[in-house]
């Protein structure tokens, strides 16, 4: 009987709590909105696997789009207003920001044995197990790039969606654009579902003025990530 009473009271409390409005201080919402409005803009949520992979695509597409600005040879397929960037192992990646994307041969492998290949097969970054690292930044923005090496997954921070940075187009034509990737060990964050070791990657890229078709990532996989690291995006047909 006591349990029934408790259950009943528990339900009553729950019900009353849900039914009560949260009384906020006067002007609270407005002040909060103002504060939110002052935060630097972030275009891409980065929380779940699909979003995480979308960020891989976003980073890569930043590269592709930027390249497209320079060369005009790339385009993404657009369906229902959404650009399907590619298909990773865990699902389709969408990016509603892209509207025009072609996947022509834009590929290459430069330096340190690591490479990103972008062609009809999609986008693939390959990184042998190396100890060389490069740490650069992309203008005022940063990439976030998630990657996987077997069981090992990691990420790159990208606080700003460079594709959305109008100034970047200007930079490409005037001063070029460069990218390198560094992978380094990092502590798992709260709530992580990563398996294996956690690595973080920093990225920077370089496309010279008049760039027409070669891209490169340089990866550093310091330990326990034997074998190739790769990202792969299936082609858009």
């Amino acid at each position: 009987m006591k349990t029934d009473n408790y259950d009943s009271f528990d339900e009553e409390l729950r019900s009353r709590a849900l039914g009560e409005d949260c009384t906020l201080p006067d002007g609270f919402e407005e002040r909060l909105s103002n504060n939110l409005g002052m935060l630097p803009e972030k275009k891409s949520p980065r929380v779940i696997h699909v979003v995480r992979y979308a960020l891989i695509a976003a980073a890569l597409c930043a590269l592709l789009t930027v390249t497209a600005f320079a060369t005009g040879v790339m385009r993404f397929k657009v369906e229902n207003g959404m650009a399907i960037l590619g298909r990773f192992s865990s699902g389709i990646v969408f990016d509603e920001n892209l509207r025009d994307y072609y996947g022509n041969n834009i590929a290459a492998c430069l330096e340190q044995g690591a490479s990103v290949v972008i062609n009809e097969e999609g986008v693939k970054a390959i990184a042998p197990n190396q100890t060389h690292g490069v740490e650069l930044s992309v203008e005022d923005g940063r990439f976030i790039l998630y990657y996987q090496c077997g069981e090992v997954k990691g990420s790159v921070d990208m606080t700003e969606d460079i594709r959305q940075n109008g100034g970047f187009k200007k930079n490409i034509s005037e001063s070029g654009y460069r990218m390198n990737i560094t992978v380094y060990p990092a502590e798992p964050d709260d709530g992580t579902e990563f398996e294996g070791n956690f690595y973080r990657v920093k990225g920077d890229a370089h496309y010279p003025p008049g760039y027409t078709g070669t891209s490169s990532f340089t990866f550093d996989v310091p330990r326990k990530a034997a074998g190739n690291c790769y990202m792969n995006v299936e082609p858009i047909h």
Binding site: A17, L24, L32, K42, V47, D190, G191, T192
Partner: protein, 144 residues
């Protein structure tokens, strides 16, 4: 977030500061969130931590004339549950707020408050007993 912060702080203004700070912190550390399903608990945890931080700062200076009068439960009529919850001791108040108002599980609350789950259950149980008494008295007032 506001309620969670308010359950730990003495004023709406401080709770608002905690929420503002939490929003900023959440924004800065958004890349750390790996599971969207946990976003609610994650944000509340940030809010709670912000509230703790503000409380630590506030505790440096306490003016006697700012210490509120303590009202005993049996001398007060509670117009709503939130008011009754706010009359609970802090540890129970926070647990009740997170459990009933924010809809978090015992496990999530334990994680947020860095407590064993058994402690959270115990606090909730005691809070329920106390609330039952307080609200019963409230009801008694209404029936008079």
């Amino acid at each position: 977030m506001f309620r969670a912060a308010r359950s730990l702080l003495d004023s709406d203004a401080d709770a608002e500061d905690a929420v503002s700070k939490a929003v900023l912190n959440a924004w800065k550390s958004s890349s750390r969130l790996r599971d969207a399903k946990k976003v609610r608990a994650w944000l509340i945890k940030i809010a709670v931590n912000s509230a703790y931080e503000i409380r630590r700062k506030n505790q440096k200076v306490v003016y006697f004339d700012e210490i509120p009068d303590v009202q005993l439960p049996d001398e007060h009529r509670y117009d709503d549950l939130w008011e009754a919850v706010n009359a609970l001791p802090e540890d129970r108040r926070t647990a009740v707020t997170l459990y009933y108002y924010d809809g978090l599980s015992v496990e999530e609350i334990a994680s947020i408050l860095s407590l064993p789950e058994g402690t959270v259950k115990s606090r909730l149980s005691r809070a329920r007993d106390q609330l039952r008494q307080m609200l019963k008295e409230d009801s008694g007032h209404e029936n008079r």
